[in-house]
């Protein structure tokens, strides 16, 4: 009954190629909801980093101040000792170096790459 010519606004576009390797709109959960708990760890906040903290284990007293303040849970602790920085998640904000009470135990260096 329609006297329309070709006109389909809902059809998928084959004209431009979308970025590959991620789920399509038919596959993702409703409303952009994340259905897997705790997957923030997969998001590499370290990729933003333009400065990097340098930890000196020789000076560090493992007072845990940096561990307490780090907004990205990027201070690595083993057997109650601060042993370094998680490079995948450290975003280089510098809070650890600023709060560290021991001179030279945590300092910031220019450049994000280790």
């Amino acid at each position: 009954m329609s006297e329309l010519a070709e006109s389909k606004p809902a059809a998928g576009s084959k004209i431009a190629a979308p970025p590959r390797g991620l789920p399509g709109w038919l596959e993702i959960p409703l409303g952009g909801i994340l259905v897997e708990p705790g997957n923030a760890v997969e998001y590499r906040t370290g990729s933003w980093r333009t400065r990097r903290p340098i930890h000196d284990p020789g000076k560090c007293t493992s007072c845990m101040i940096c561990w307490l303040y780090c907004p990205d849970d990027a201070i690595v602790v083993r057997e109650q000792k601060v042993v370094g920085v998680d490079k995948d998640h450290c975003k280089g904000c510098g809070i650890c170096a600023r709060e560290c009470p021991v001179k030279g135990a945590m300092t910031m260096a220019e450049g994000g790459a280790y």
């Binding site: 009954m1 006109s7 979308p18 991620l22 789920p23 952009g32 994340l34």
Partner: protein, 399 residues
Amino acid sequence: MAVQAVTQQKLALTGNEAVAMAMKQINPDVVAAYPITPQTDIVQYFSTFVADGKVKTEFVTVESEHSAMSACVGSCAAGARTMTATSSQGLALMWEMLYIAAGFRLPIVMPVVNRALSAPINIHCDHSDSMGARDSGWIQLYSENAQEAYDNTIQAVRIAEHADVRLPVMVCQDGFVISHSLMNLEVLPDEAVASFVGEFAPRYPLLDAEHPVTYGALALQDSYFEARRQIADAMSRAPAVILEVGKEYGRLSGREYGFFEAHRLEDAEVAVVAIGSAAGSAKAVADSLRGQGIKAGVLKVRVFRPWPWREIGDALGSARVVGVMDRADGLSNLGGPLFGDIRSALYDRTRRPLVVDYIYGLGGRDVSLEDIEGVFRDLLRIKDEGRVTEPVTYLGVRE
């Protein structure tokens, strides 16, 4: 399950009372609303049902309309059937959260009493408030009278919550003209409404501790587009659901609903398109013009989002001239929102009518039968001239 027609009660109610009655019968889990102006009587009547123990609803009064919609988003995401109501500036203040409700795919139902937006300050009817929200991802149903406002509110629950849709719905009615006018209408028994709307089956409820989910995560260049494309898909599935629900409601109540009402359009040469109460006046004018041998017809839009463009094109396609009546001005220099969508619906047709726009009734300016007859006469003039010289006319404004 076969739906049986039920005996209904005849009551004299205002549009606001009719919608509050529908909300009482729907008996939602949560209603979050701002309790003072620009709120409507709907929420006031509903709060008395809560106080009298007539509903089991958790009624949350909040400090603004922005908070009202925020609370609705939280409650619906938690897994509760959620409603609110608003009007005018209140809807404007909800703006940010409207997009989030649709983006999270939350089936919130919200009656909207259509009133003008400031400035200047005005409290009377026009469609500027909800028309501005037309791209927010909410389904929009419009009502011609209190009966339709009641019927649309009940159907909206089923449309919003349908697995193919999962989008919020606004049920719009004209401020004062409908909201404050008494009308005799038929009301379904409580049990019939309860079984029609059924139990709410939430998707990804936050309160399901066994299956924790995150709402509102960041989606950047690599996935935002996909989430938005999904909403467009839901909107494209909504028409079939709207028709299915409208038919089932018809079997229950004797009042079936479609996308629009086509009044004497089959052989109409001049047709008026209108939304809300003015459509009733336009139908009366068309009938009297028919008596004078003029082939006049009316299309009354019920569903504005999703836009049933194909069916509207088919219904209007054989008219010679179509006059769109917009109770909102797009301030675009090319008329109102309905005008743009009607012209667009007709554009791809091999034979298409001339289409013009009449902006009318802003801020509650009355539109009389004579005004609408004037529109039909103008359409006849355009038909004789065979071309459009002025696409947009401001109807009944002082020069």
